[in-house]
Amino acid sequence: MVPTAYYLVLAAILFSIGVAAFLIKRNVITIFISIELMLNAVNLTFVAFAHMWNQISGQIFVFFVMVVAAAEAAVGLAIIISIFRTRQTLNVDEIDLMKL
């Protein structure tokens, strides 16, 4: 028997590490990877709450999150390829055309 709160705290740890990696990393692919980490942390909370309430809807929601994450990864990586082709860099500090 594991308290549900432990699963939720684990998800909070993973989410916070994802936020930290998103802010610290300078490589655009690594930033994208940390977004995936945050999505996974949220999925864990969905599954934990679905188990807690004995409801299947949380798992259905995780299924849809996975589908959207797959679509997002495909489009995002295409954008990264396109950025690399025009600017020859993956460093976010140098991709600052829209910066004031």
Binding site: A5, Y7, L8, N54, A71, S82, N91
Partner: protein, 168 residues
Amino acid sequence: MQLALFLIFGALAVAGALNLLLQRHPINSALSLVVVMMSLAVLYWSLGAEFLAAAQVIVYSGAIMVLFVFVIMLLNAGEEEHTNGSRAAYTVGMPGAAAIFCLLSFVFLSERGKLGATEIGGYLNRGLDNISEVSATLFTRQLLPFEVTSVLILVAILGAVAIARKEQ
């Protein structure tokens, strides 16, 4: 037994996430994310979500991470340059991430009595197949969202091809 399972794979997930944060080469970060996703699949299974555990392994650590590794190798991404990041990220971001973690942990741990405890494979114990329950919901009540996601995937494929194509 479930506590041991949770502790082992929870620690593995946190170790993978920390390794993702500390490694400088993108390929190392991507492979640590695979570790995180595989251990999360075990945790899903222990929470009685067998279908999602399988989907996590196949879709996330299979398809999506292959796409990431493929792009990293295609673009020949090397180690990150050692820049001293934006000041805002360190002054606001890190305390912000720590604050998110502290707030969430405080709420979850102070309400741990009401949140209750989990037993291994909750759906199996009730004599219900997890996959049949998921598919019954997905193909009856959630049929329209399910069909819309297939259109979304189609649009994403076309968009990815259109964006990544070489300009003529």
